[in-house]
């Protein structure tokens, strides 16, 4: 379980997160939803320590992450996998080398074992045979998928995905959602996904936190989300014709 306790974060005098407290469960896909610019990415970066919150505490299971030294955090992060909103693939490395990178750094596996793991991960994101391509040769959606493969290559205990399926066609998006959902259950990971994709919300939203203008506005699951009477949540969820029809 990951807990955010009273997290506030401002950039200059722009308050992005205002006293956010919520928890994310082990073995479940936890979603953070909210409008563009509401603070999802900032919250996720606070959770992993890329941003330091101005106040509040971050706890992983029974360890207070926000109080660790930078060196302790570095060791702790070997259990992390993260997909950045822009992919953040190493552009001097091929797809295979990107996915192998964390394995090279922290495991003593033979090249063959690592290669097998790479192929396994690539297969799960539907990208067999892309091993030798470089990031500049990939489409936007392929970059996302390689980044997911890299994030899951070390079987992380904590998986963070910042908009894993934005920019993907609905079918691939579904495949990715299900993949993340499956591995989360299979390996008992604690997974957090930032998204504003309604399909994801309704498919895999086991625990949903809705962020509105930097505040934690609502929490619930995919069943409750359709029947809430929270106005801002409804404005967000039922913004499109399709979802309005679905409600009826």
């Amino acid at each position: 379980m990951i807990e955010a306790r009273n997290i506030s974060k401002a950039f200059g005098d722009h308050e992005v997160l205002k006293n956010v407290s919520t928890s994310f469960e082990k073995g479940q896909t936890n979603l953070i939803i909210g409008q563009s610019g509401s603070g999802k990415t900032v919250l996720m970066k606070c959770l992993v320590g890329l941003y330091t919150a101005d106040s509040g505490e971050i706890a992983y299971d029974d360890q207070i992450f926000s109080e660790m030294t930078e060196k302790e955090k570095m060791v702790f992060r070997k259990e992390f996998g993260m997909l950045f909103q822009g992919g953040a693939l190493f552009d001097s490395l091929s797809v295979e080398e990107n996915i192998m990178f964390p394995l090279n750094m922290f495991t003593k596996q033979s090249f063959e074992e690592k290669r097998e793991r790479v192929n396994f991960c690539l297969k799960r994101v539907n990208l067999e045979n892309a091993n030798k391509l470089y990031p500049s040769e990939l489409s936007g959606g392929m970059i996302k998928r390689v980044a997911i493969a890299r994030a899951i290559s070390v079987n992380p205990k904590y998986l963070f995905c910042d908009e894993p399926n934005s920019g993907l066609d609905p079918r691939t998006a579904g495949v990715i959602d299900n993949l993340i959902n499956e591995i989360t259950e299979e390996y008992g990971m604690t997974t957090i996904i930032n998204t504003h994709d309604m399909n994801s919300v309704l498919e895999i939203g086991e625990k949903i936190a809705f962020i509105h203008e930097g505040n934690l506005w609502w929490t619930g699951n995919k069943h409750e989300v359709l029947h809430s009477d929270n106005k801002e949540l409804n404005d967000f969820i039922f913004a499109s014709e399709l979802t309005r029809r679905l409600k009826k």
């Binding site: 970066k45 992993v48 890329l50 570095m74 060791v75 702790f76 992060r77 070997k78 992390f80 996998g81 993260m82 950045f84 822009g86 953040a88 693939l89 190493f90 552009d91 990178f101 964390p102 090279n104 750094m105 922290f106 963070f160």
Partner: protein
């Protein structure tokens, strides 16, 4: 940035990176270094020869002056300044781009120490390979000087060689190498620093590169003065 100087996380990875940096910082700079050295050596010899217009100064002075200016100043300092433009700006833009595209954050999330992982191999590689480049530069410059004398017919080979040997103090080579090592450290650490602390986008990467080149050049000249005072005076 202090983080850059810790022991690397994994030795085998570090060695692999080091080999790569020898290639990209050293071998890929060899062409430009040799080209500039050959011509500058020739030009230094010709200018000295043309400026000796009294028979009171022997023509062996040409070899002597060329040798002194090449070993003491041209090869270690000017070539290092050229490497600031070639190698330093490249390091800043490489690391700066990684910073603004979150690749450095990605490293950090994996539990890697990014400053150490990215900058230490470059600093180490440059401090080893630049002295080699400078030795090549000295040899090729002196050869260039010889060729210029030969082609112009102003100075005989015997005079030139005699000049090269005249009052030769091997310490000048040590001095050149020490300067080069210090400059190599300045080039890689300052440009690494500017890359690492880049914020923003592509435009900011360009700005960082410019700042890195300007500041490294200033530091090199300052350290040139300091080292000269310490070692030669």
């Amino acid at each position: 940035m202090i983080e850059a100087f810790r022991r690397p996380d994994k030795g085998s990875v570090f060695r692999k990176q080091l080999m790569f940096e020898f290639q990209s910082l050293g071998i890929e700079s060899l062409g430009i270094v040799l080209f500039i050295s050959a011509f500058t050596g020739g030009i230094a010899a010709l200018q000295t020869a043309y400026n000796i217009d009294t028979p009171l100064i022997p023509l062996t002075m040409v070899g002597f002056v060329t040798r002194q200016s090449i070993i003491l100043e041209f090869s270690p300092t000017v070539i290092s300044l050229i490497l600031v433009g070639k190698v330093g700006s490249r390091i800043t833009s490489e690391i700066g781009t990684m910073k603004v595209t979150e690749q450095i954050d990605a490293l950090r999330i994996m539990g890697v120490n990014p400053a150490n992982f990215l900058i230490l191999p470059k600093i180490t590689a440059a401090m080893i390979i630049n002295p080699v480049l400078i030795i090549f530069s000295i040899v090729v410059s002196l050869l260039g000087g010889y060729l210029a004398c030969e082609i112009s017919g102003l100075v005989t080979l015997a005079d030139y060689i005699a000049g090269l040997h005249y009052q030769f103090n091997p310490f000048s080579i040590t001095y050149a190498i020490i300067k080069t090592i210090v400059f190599a450290f300045l080039i890689t650490s300052i440009s690494g620093f500017y890359g690492y602390y880049t914020e923003g986008g592509a435009l900011d990467v360009g700005n960082s590169s410019t700042k890195a080149v300007v500041n490294t050049s200033i530091f090199i000249i300052l350290f040139d003065l300091i080292l000269t005072q310490l070692m030669l005076v």
